[in-house]
Amino acid sequence: MILEVRDLTKIFGGLKAIEEISFKVKRGIILSIIGPNGAGKTTLFNCLTGVLPSTKGHVLFEDEDITQRRPYEITEKGIARTFQNIRVFNSMTVLENVMIGQHSRSREGLLTAVLGTKKFQREEDEIRSKALEYLEFTGIQDYAATLAENLPYGDQKRLEIARALATEPELLLLDEPAAGMNPQETMALMELIKKIREWGKTVIIIEHDMKVVMGISDWIIVLDHGVKIAEGTPNEIQNNPYVIEAYLGKEEVDLLS
């Protein structure tokens, strides 16, 4: 088990955004989290990555309790994420964006930078070449010198993935990576995610597009109104009466097709 979540709860004022959610994640799988709008999926990510403090419950990553850790510590331990509403570093170049991802995997500080030591230079070169690798992997290497804000939408989403990969995570959390993409882009994205799994990394993905979810998931968790209503393989989920009810009238057709 790479991740274990126990009774995780987040309350905003009076609103229970997620309530006593528990699940375990096997290493090396693609796990999808689905659920209608406002179900608490993004909030779950925020609590896992420390962006929001959880109200109750525990998160164990590689058997270590990371519940109240700061987000940067959690990233250092090996969880990376993307954001639902893109948060690239707008006025920096695409390459610089990905180089920042390497932050926690490098050491050199202020003094060696000022002196321009050999060690500093070497590390800097390494950061750059690794960043270029991740750009190539996500297919946006041609934009390396472009400002991130000038990238097309779909490529900004890829940039977020490249940047997250650059933190060298064991567990990657993707919040609606396919949203706003056209079918071809979505296909390419699915291939990309599968490749990440082939690297031995674990991926948790929030997605509304059922074709994507059913196509790539090894395991699916369904949230509704902050509660986990089902989990299982794609096949089990498709036939689960509770799930169908939760989606009734909305995405029923999608689900069953």
Binding site: E76, F83, R87, S91, I100, A113, V114
Partner: protein, 353 residues
């Protein structure tokens, strides 16, 4: 027509203050300048600005060379101004680390400038240290002050941070003003000695100019190096998006601390140079307006850009000196300039890429 009416409205508003005649002049004045603006915009709007490929290396070499021969070309009075420009560049480089790189709008930087100046003044006059032996202590004090302020300030965001740093700046100024037994209050401290190099007193304007120019070059070199390093990137990412920066594994709190104390370090250096240049310090040199003035420099030049900082300091210090009659209207223009800048060119005169 609506625009003319609006101008008329503004003129009408000014009448209680400027009288009926003044208001009328103002109306004619803004109408004419607006007309000229429209005309010029019409004339130049069609000409596409050619993208001039600037060789930054060549340009900066030329600029430095020019800075070196400058004192031979100008009168003493202007050497004096040039020294002031240099001191402001160092100060602005420090502010730029905090405001420009890290995006923390700090409105109390004059406090660090003041702490630097007063440390130098007190260490040299009270304790009999020389400039050079006082300098490390001065820099230590100001960096520590930067760290100290960082504790409360870093829990706040955006405009709240701006107001708290402003309050901090004012408290320091009030302390300088009222702690008579140490700072001699509003009378200030005089007889601050000049620096010595190898037993040689740097009292002559030209020599002092070369001293501060040396410091400017060192400061610009170091800041540039840091900008292009892991630390610099971490600062920029905090400016761009703090949450995303944390998610990238950056300890944003630590880097804000670093930015504040590193920025304060340069302000301290600027303060020390200012004190030993003037041989006198008093609280009024470190007012809120001074903080705003420096922030204006980096906004004018372009937030985060090192050549921008230099350009901004040059313009804001030189302009009022060159246009002497303009002196009176300097602050008026600064105010209007800030508003126009925010509306029409928030990224500043120089912008990377």
């Amino acid at each position: 027509m609506k625009k003319v009416l609006f101008m008329f409205w503004c003129a009408l508003l000014s009448m209680p203050f400027m009288g009926i005649k003044g208001g009328a002049y103002l109306f004619v004045g803004i109408c004419v300048s607006y007309g000229v603006y429209v005309l010029l915009a019409h004339l130049f709007g069609k000409i596409k600005k050619p993208a001039i490929p600037v060789n930054t290396k060549l340009l900066s070499t030329a600029f430095i060379a020019f800075a070196f021969i400058l004192p031979f070309l100008i009168k003493d009075y202007y050497t004096d101004v040039a020294i002031l420009v240099c001191i402001y560049i160092i100060l602005a480089l420090g502010v730029n680390i905090v405001v420009g790189f890290s995006g923390l709008l700090h409105l109390g930087f004059a406090a660090f400038y003041g702490i630097g100046a007063y440390s130098n003044a007190l260490l040299t006059t009270h304790f009999g240290l020389g400039f050079w032996s006082a300098l490390p202590l001065t820099l230590l004090f100001t960096s520590m002050a930067g760290l100290l302020l960082a504790f409360p300030a870093l829990r706040l965001k955006g405009d709240y941070l701006a107001i708290v740093t402003l309050g901090f700046g004012e408290i320091i100024r009030l302390v300088l003003n009222n702690w008579d037994s140490v700072t001699r209050g509003p009378n200030g401290i005089s007889n601050i000695p000049s620096p010595f190099i190898l037993g040689f007193e740097i009292s002559n304007l030209m020599y002092y100019y070369y001293l501060v120019l040396g410091f400017v070059l060192i400061a610009a070199f170091i800041v540039k190096r840091v900008y292009h390093s892991r630390t610099g990137r971490a600062w920029l990412s905090i400016r761009e998006d703090e949450t995303a920066a944390e998610a990238m594994g950056i300890n944003t709190r630590k880097y804000k601390f670093m930015a504040l104390s590193f920025g304060a370090f340069w302000a301290g250096l600027a303060g020390a140079l200012f004190a030993s240049k003037m041989h006198f310090v008093s609280p009024e040199s470190f007012s809120f307006m001074e903080s705003v003035f420096v922030v204006c420099m980096i906004i004018l030049g372009g937030l985060g850009s090192i050549p921008g900082v230099i350009l901004g300091s040059l313009i804001l210090v030189l302009l009022p000196e060159v246009l002497r009659d303009f002196q009176l209207y300097r602050m008026l223009a600064l105010g209007v300039g800030l508003v126009l800048m925010m509306i029409f060119r928030p990224q500043g005169l120089i912008r990377k890429n």
